[in-house]
Amino acid sequence: MASDTTAAEGSSLVFHPMDQFIVKPLFGDGAVGMFTITNVTLWLALAIVAVIALLVLPTSKRAIVPGRGQSIAELTYGFIYKMVEDVCGKDGIKFFPYIMTLFMFIVSANFLGLLPMSFTTTSHFAVTAVLALAVFLTVTILGFVINGAGFLGLFWVSSAPLALRPILAVIELISYFVRPVSHSIRLAGNVMAGHAVIKVFAGFAAITVISPVSVLAITAMYGLEILVAFIQAYVFTILTCVYLKDALHPSH
């Protein structure tokens, strides 16, 4: 094992695209236990700081005519508020703080992950799976609490011919349970892939002839990653709204 790696290190090209995702303790070299303060802790804390810096500090003046920072905070608020209102309807508004929490966390973590040398918390399935499962469990429990057994109507497509309905019900049921999987892997996969690709291009930069191309490619990928960082946060949030709408109004 050690000799394999030594052989790999011996060549001029060294690729360690996944090393950026390693969780390590911030203090000392010990094992990573459940409560160890790790780089995950640091970058999650920075996400909290980013949320405060985006939404709390700029609005402290409560200006009627907003400044730059307050405008951004208000735009973000209006963006998510309108999304919840449009997708879930008026009765979805009471879930706005939860959805805003999800969006702000994902968007902050994604953009913090784009800083060089940073650790991207949203590239880990453990993180996105918790988010997705939280949404899935909330939606499912909420659906049964609000609609009772009527929530099962979500799987019984009443607009389809009667003969097709059992088959459709099975498909709907499977797709319902695949939701948290796709929901979490979509986010982590997109973020991880982009970061890994940037590292691979960075590895090629060791060869002098290729390095200009490599730098260009890294720049292009970085631009793409900025897009992905926002779009994936947006997609995660709007899907949450769509799932929530199913719980509130299960009829198709």
């Binding site: 094992m1 995702f21 094992a31 990573v32 160890t36 709390v56 009627i64 703080p97 805003m100 880990h124």
Partner: protein, 181 residues
């Protein structure tokens, strides 16, 4: 022998500190990530629901209220402006009508005065003309009489100068006859 200690520390990192496979699938890190994630989410949720969202919502509501009030005030002022303009136009029309009435009245008065004056002047002119005609007739009559007298005298003198006997009655009769003819 750092290699061995590192291997003991984690099964997901090899002796050179590189990742073994996908770090995302490393089970021993997941508990740590989930623990801190849950804390982070709770903290963010508390910050948003206690501070940020009510504050931004209040700002937006306040702004909406201000805008609505300002628009209402603007509507009021606009209505008042329209009212004022109407009043102004009405006053203008009234004033114009009044001015026309006054002008017409003045014109009628002047016309009446003028008529009186013209009538008076006409009467005076007629009187003067009659007087003048009388005077002219008198003068003319006077002149005829004078001519007759002068003619009689002259005729008498001529007759005398020619050595005749002035017959006053005859001369007078001759002159009267000539004057008529």
């Amino acid at each position: 022998m750092a290699t061995e200690t590192k291997d003991i520390v984690s099964a997901c990192v090899d002796s050179y500190g590189s990742a073994v496979g996908m770090p995302q699938l490393c089970g021993e890190w997941m508990g740590n990530q989930i623990f801190w994630l849950v804390i982070t989410l709770v903290v963010i949720f508390l910050i948003l629901s206690r501070v940020a969202l009510p504050r931004i919502g209040a700002i937006l509501a306040e702004r909406q209220g201000t805008i609505t009030n300002d628009i209402a005030a603007a509507e009021d002022l606009k209505a008042k402006a329209v009212e004022a303009e109407d009043a102004y136009n009405k006053a203008l029309a009234d004033a114009r009508a009044q001015a026309q009435a006054i002008a017409a009245e003045a014109r009628a008065e002047i016309q009446a005065d003028l008529d009186v004056a013209i009538a008076k002047a006409d009467a005076e002119i007629a009187a003067k003309a009659a007087e003048s005609e009388a005077a002219i007739a008198e003068i003319r009559a006077g002149a005829l009489d004078s001519i007759q007298a002068v003619a009689k005298d002259t005729a008498g003198e001529i007759v005398t100068a020619l050595g005749g006997q002035a017959d006053e009655a005859g001369i007078a009769g001759a002159i009267d006859a000539r004057m008529k003819g």
